[in-house]
């Protein structure tokens, strides 16, 4: 009977320990690690200088002089340098009638060059990839781009592919959300995400001003990154995902139609950006921050915010005029060290920066990315991250906030924790020494400065 008692005790101990281990093990799968990322650097023959932009604009014979002046003004004042890249079809004069091959080539070049580098750097073979996500908003051929990658890299039959499309400039956090959800249902999974945009088939050749802005600001770019929830790869990972917040204000009609791909009165398809875009962006931004702040900020800061808010309200009720205009600010820098802002344009960066209470140092990565790469849509966040890494700003335990906006209208954000000191130059390697430049003014300001005059 002693034996029976001992066996019973051993069994109970074993079962309790194994169940505890199982519960602990479930928790371990729920981390999403960023192993590595590679930003796309097109070849130099694809650089779009202001002069070249001006030539391309002039090729559109439907434009009148005021339109031409307007466009050139946008380009000159955009904060975009001479070093940004465009698709070959536009540079070679085929912007009005790109072939399917042009579109395929543009996207394939980006995907293959970044993926080759990614697999080489991480040492992981394509056959080990379990989940593949591609997000390219404005080009979705059949078979999908995910199938193109599966074919090129001979991936396994049971690879889970997802081809996201139409989700705008803030699609990077959406792809990460998708992968994160899949990670929570499977152990030791490896995911590769490719994010880019297709410019070649979307050049607008009409005369509607609201649609011409896209032509001036969007540039070629892309990024491939690898995520995993395998704890054994943690030591190689660069960052860990802490939280992700998505806010969709599409229920509001203004928000839905403020950034929309549609036909103009002549039947030409273009990307329309309405005047209410800034207002819509602010609303979406606020909604996102309301959910993000409690997850990101330390308890002390949140408590201070509540106290300040109460005080503000009390004062407002007593002295209405003095405090009516002032809003209570939250200091995001108490919970976040680095800010990756979507490079939608100089105005967007400045507006977001001032809303978050950021200084010149904080918005520098976004500003410099806009200068060097232009608005590369969903992949811009990764170029901004690359700048920070190349400047050796990312230290262990730092927190990085990625914030982006997109058509729909969405505002998505995600918070990462840096796991080790990062020093890789990446796509910025050859030019980081020249940043920040003395002046961001377009060198052709003298030549084209007349466009700013009345």
């Amino acid at each position: 009977m002693e034996l029976l008692w001992m066996i019973a005790t051993v069994l109970f101990l074993y079962s309790s320990l194994s169940f505890l281990w199982k519960a602990f093990d479930c928790r371990r799968n729920q981390n999403c690690y960023l192993l590595d990322y590679v930003c796309y650097k097109p070849s130099d023959d694809r650089k779009l200088s202001t002069e070249l932009c001006s030539d391309v604009i002039k090729r559109n014979k439907r434009l009148s002089m005021p339109d031409y002046k307007f466009l050139l003004k946008v380009v000159v004042n955009s904060g975009i340098s001479e070093e940004t890249y465009g698709p070959r079809s536009i540079i070679e004069g085929r912007e009005e009638s790109p072939t399917l091959d042009d579109c395929d080539d543009e996207v394939d070049d980006c995907m293959y060059s970044t993926l080759d580098k990614l697999f080489h750097r991480t040492g992981i073979s394509p056959g080990d990839v379990d989940v593949l996500v591609v997000n390219i908003s404005m080009f979705a051929p059949a078979p999908s781009l995910t199938s193109t990658i599966v074919n090129r890299y001979k991936m396994r039959e049971d690879v889970k592919t997802f081809n996201l499309s139409g989700m705008g400039c803030s699609a990077s956090p959406i792809a990460i959300d998708l992968v994160n959800n899949v990670f929570e249902t499977r152990k030791r999974t490896l995911a590769v995400v490719i994010t880019s945009e297709s410019i070649a088939p979307n050049w607008y050749c009409g005369t509607d001003k609201s649609m011409m802005l896209g032509n001036c600001l969007f540039r070629s770019g892309g990024c491939s990154f690898m995520l995993t929830n395998d704890p054994s790869l943690k030591h190689r990972a660069k960052m860990r995902l802490k939280c992700l917040v998505r806010a969709h204000s599409g229920a509001n009609d203004d928000a839905y139609s403020c950034a929309m791909q549609k036909e103009d009165t002549d039947g030409r398809v273009g990307f329309h950006l309405s005047k209410s875009l800034p207002k819509v962006a602010v609303r979406a931004f606020t909604e996102n921050l309301q959910t993000l702040a409690p997850k990101v900020l330390p308890v002390g800061e949140l408590a201070l915010y509540v106290i300040r808010g109460l005080r503000h309200r009390l004062r407002r009720s007593k002295e209405t005029k003095a405090y009516a205009g002032k809003a209570v600010r939250v200091n995001f820098k108490s919970g976040v060290e680095h800010f990756c802002l979507h490079t939608g344009g100089a105005a967007v960066i400045d507006a977001v920066g001032s809303a978050l209470g950021l200084n010149k140092y904080d918005v520098e990565p976004a500003r410099m990315t806009l200068h060097r790469w232009g608005n590369t849509s969903a992949s811009s966040l990764w170029y901004v991250l690359g700048y920070m890494e190349a400047k050796k700003r990312l230290r262990r335990k730092d927190r990085v906030l990625m914030l982006s906006f997109g058509a729909g209208f969405k505002c998505n954000s995600c918070l990462w924790e840096v796991l080790r000191d990062l020093e890789d130059g990446g796509a910025w390697e050859d030019c980081i020494q020249a940043y920040p430049p003395q002046s961001l003014v377009n060198p052709f300001m003298n030549k084209f400065g007349w466009v700013s005059e009345a």
């Binding site: 059949a142 199938s147 139409g166 249902t185 806010a247 969709h248 204000s249 549609k262 969405k410």
Partner: protein
């Protein structure tokens, strides 16, 4: 004198019973094993007598602490076990778009339009031959923009078609389930060949005023099997988010994809693809389990893209004149068959009863070790499923699958009739087929359904559903006005 022919073994009744008995024995092996064990335990207890049993109990010397600890451990173990099990995913209900009669394209209309649009007599005759052998009926529908001569594939018309098909399906679903748009937590939309910015998911969020924290995903370019990819994604999301529901929209927008050229391999989609959409409500809430129609058992995805032939068999490209269209290669059937075989090797062990798996395994071993001339054993999937929904990609696809899986005409009736009535509606066809089976009153509680989709890439995706309650014949829905006319006999060639 002519010898009597050898009796057909497979049709011998006695042998059938032997086969049934064998299946029953193998499938319930573990349960049957329990009987002798229980008998032995009972005999032992009877032999020991009550005093000995009490003595045994007392000798364990369990005091209060140990009893409490063991109690705690049992409860803890039960909780961990229950919470770590994957959450069941229920299909509460679904709705299919019923095209208006004004959009109908009978053969005569289609041929007349084709003759007026195309200058090439050969390609007109080719399209006529396709239509004659297609298995389509006279009631399939094309969107309004395609009724113009020539069709007007503008973005505005594409959005209009999307709004028509998707909103109708969602309105139907809302009416049937009492779903409030504000309650939708997850939205997944798949539409292969039309992907505007903002996405179709944003269009739905705008129209129905969904919440700002809805998790929306818009899948595009993923072909005719994308419906099951969306279901797979929704299932993964529902595993993570407790007490949530997901709205899945599967559709294909025809308007922007009219092929205006004359290359034969690219003319087939014009002839076969038709308007359709389906809206599906999935949930993991316990209270929905009571009213749900089906429970999702498995989703298996197979991607054959690594093989170049498979990758190129459904390919969007431009012809010599610069017209964009989808070209279908001649290898399509062979590749579909291979993709299905790969999918079956994964899904087989999950759904086939033990008897079939054992036979398959033994035949495989026999072929490898004893005699390679043995015929490969094709597992009898009719034992695993009561109903089959095969993507109505075209007559040839259905024929091929019927042959490969050894299905009867009744099993593929839903697919054939859907192809006849609605044409190839791409990813939503599986839902029209399911609706056909329900409309015929064949769906009983406990029935298992196998949905198989094929798509560009080349993918073969399967989903297995289990029916939770006998489905009453629907009074509305796409089949309500014509179900009595079905099934129809579809001739090999319809002379035009």
């Amino acid at each position: 004198m002519p010898r009597a022919p050898l009796p057909e073994f497979s049709s011998s009744v006695k042998l059938k019973y032997v086969k049934l008995g064998y299946q029953y024995l193998v499938n319930n092996f573990v349960t049957l094993l329990l009987i002798p064990v229980m008998a032995a335990v009972y005999l032992e207890l009877v032999r020991m007598g009550p005093e000995e049993i009490m003595g045994l109990w007392r000798s364990l010397r369990l005091d209060l602490i140990q009893i409490l600890c063991s109690f705690f451990v049992i409860i803890f173990a039960a909780t961990v076990y229950l919470t770590s099990r994957p959450q069941p995913v229920y299909l509460v209900d679904y709705a299919c778009f019923k095209p208006p009669t004004t959009c109908r394209v009978p053969f005569s209309t289609f041929m007349e339009h084709t003759r007026l649009i195309s200058s090439d007599e050969k390609s007109v005759r080719f399209q006529m031959r396709i239509l004659e052998r297609s298995g389509l009926g006279e009631e399939t529908c094309l969107p309004p923009a395609n009724h113009y001569i020539p069709p007007r594939p503008t973005m505005e018309a594409s959005r209009a078609e999307a709004q028509l098909v998707i909103f109708s399906a969602i309105d139907d679903l809302v009416r049937k389930t009492g779903l409030r748009p504000k309650d939708i937590d997850i939205l997944v939309v798949n539409c292969s060949l039309f992907s505007p910015t903002p996405s179709l998911s944003a269009m739905i969020i705008n129209k129905y005023k969904l919440r700002s924290n809805v998790r929306s995903f818009n899948l595009s370019g993923m072909g005719c099997s994308a419906g099951l990819i969306s279901v797979d994604l929704a299932r993964d999301l529902l595993q993570v988010h407790r007490s949530s529901n997901a709205l899945v929209i599967s559709t294909e927008i025809i308007t922007p994809n009219f092929y205006a050229g004359n290359q034969r391999s690219m003319l087939l989609p014009n002839c076969l693809f038709r308007m359709g959409a389906a809206a599906i409500l999935l949930s993991n809430r316990r209270r929905d389990a009571r009213r749900a129609k089906y429970r999702l058992v498995h989703v298996v995805r197979t991607h054959k893209g690594a093989d170049d032939r498979a990758y190129r068999c459904v390919y969007q490209e431009e012809d010599a004149e610069g017209h964009s269209g989808i070209s279908l290669s001649k290898d399509l059937m062979a590749i579909a068959g291979e993709a299905l075989k790969s999918n079956i090797t994964t899904i087989g062990p999950l759904v086939l009863p033990m008897s079939e798996q054992l036979l398959f395994f033994l035949t495989l071993v026999g072929r490898k070790l004893i005699n390679p001339k043995w015929k490969p054993y094709i597992p009898d999937f009719k034992l695993a499923f009561e109903h089959f929904c095969i993507h109505a990609g075209g007559r040839a696809v259905i024929d091929e699958l019927q042959k490969n899986l050894e299905l009867s005409a009744e099993h593929v009736e839903a697919s054939r009739m859907t192809l006849h009535r609605f044409g190839n509606t791409s990813s939503s066809s599986l839902w029209y087929e399911l609706n056909y089976i329900e409309s015929k009153g064949r769906m009983r509680r406990g029935d298992r359904v196998w949905q198989i989709g094929f798509g560009s890439g080349f993918k073969c995706n399967s989903a297995v559903w289990k029916c939770l309650r006998t489905v009453k014949t629907p009074v509305d829905g796409p089949w309500s006005d014509c179900i009595d006319r079905y099934p129809v006999d579809i001739p090999e060639v319809v002379k035009l």
